[in-house]
């Protein structure tokens, strides 16, 4: 099965990088949004390769189903088709910063000696639920605060956008 995972990884990596470049470089914003949705989908594929099945489902549900639709709605509502997707004044500095960052990260990753564990995790959903909700070292407080945060975001967005 190793060869399957290898082929899947290289194909998905190529699609992710191609889609990300399309998002940033395409002139037509709507096409850029569609490529962003493709990118989200393939990141879910990467999660499946890494045996994080619940996260893959959550990624598709949250990113593609909600954030993708939201971004496309926003593009509909703020249409500036004359200008499209131009580059700003900081194009060259941004390129230099991006490349520097990339080179630094790749150098760090390649030269560090990671303690890689070879065991494959067991089915993750029940362990994930226990990690989130158990009493001793669970993340219950963060979970509840995240819920309040989402409520605040929803109310804030409604207040910002409603007609006076």
């Amino acid at each position: 099965m190793e060869i399957g995972i290898t082929i899947a990884f290289w194909v998905l990596a190529a699609v992710i990088i191609g889609a990300a470049l399309a998002v940033v470089l395409l002139r037509n914003i709507f096409h850029a949004a569609i490529f962003l949705v493709l990118c989200f989908f393939t990141v879910a594929g990467i999660f499946i390769i890494l045996s994080a099945d619940f996260l893959a489902g959550a990624q598709v549900l949250i990113y593609v189903g909600a954030i993708g639709v939201l971004i496309i709605f926003a593009i509909m509502l703020t249409r500036e088709t004359q200008r499209g997707n131009p580059s700003g004044r900081l194009r060259l500095p941004a390129l230099i910063v991006g490349l520097l960052f990339l080179i630094t990260m790749v150098a760090v990753v390649v030269s560090t000696n990671w303690n890689v564990v070879a065991e494959i995790p067991e089915p993750t959903i029940s362990s994930l639920a226990q990690a989130l909700f158990s009493k001793e070292n669970g993340f219950v407080l963060a979970f509840e605060i995240a819920a309040v945060l989402l409520l605040a975001a929803i109310i804030g967005a409604i207040v910002l956008v409603r007609e006076k």
Partner: protein, 103 residues
């Protein structure tokens, strides 16, 4: 060659730098938001790769990813609300023209 931790981390770094370029160099505010989403996805990939290869028994990596997704959703909602309300009063989403607070 088998796929190891370094492959996922380098993929995450490439995705992050593409998002970084987009967030710094683009003029349309929605494209900047899309690039920020790319950066958050890159971070998610590297978190899950670390969980899988370094500490699979401890579920903290996946919990962190869930919270990052929640925060990304909240941020997109509020960001797009701000962009839409700016569009309503200025008729533009070009960040080089929304500079009323600068001297």
């Amino acid at each position: 060659m088998a796929v190891g931790l370094e492959h996922f981390l380098i993929l995450s770094a490439i995705l992050f730098s593409i998002g970084l370029y987009g967030a710094l160099a683009k003029r349309n505010a929605i494209v900047i938001l899309m690039s920020v989403e790319l950066m958050l996805n890159a971070v998610n990939i590297s978190l899950v790769a670390f969980w899988r290869y370094v500490a699979p028994a401890l579920m903290t990596g996946q919990v962190f990813v869930i919270f990052v997704m929640v925060l990304a959703a909240a941020e997109v909602v509020v960001g797009l609300a701000i962009i839409i309300s700016i569009y309503r009063s200025r008729e533009t989403v070009d960040v080089e023209q929304i500079d009323l607070m600068k001297w």
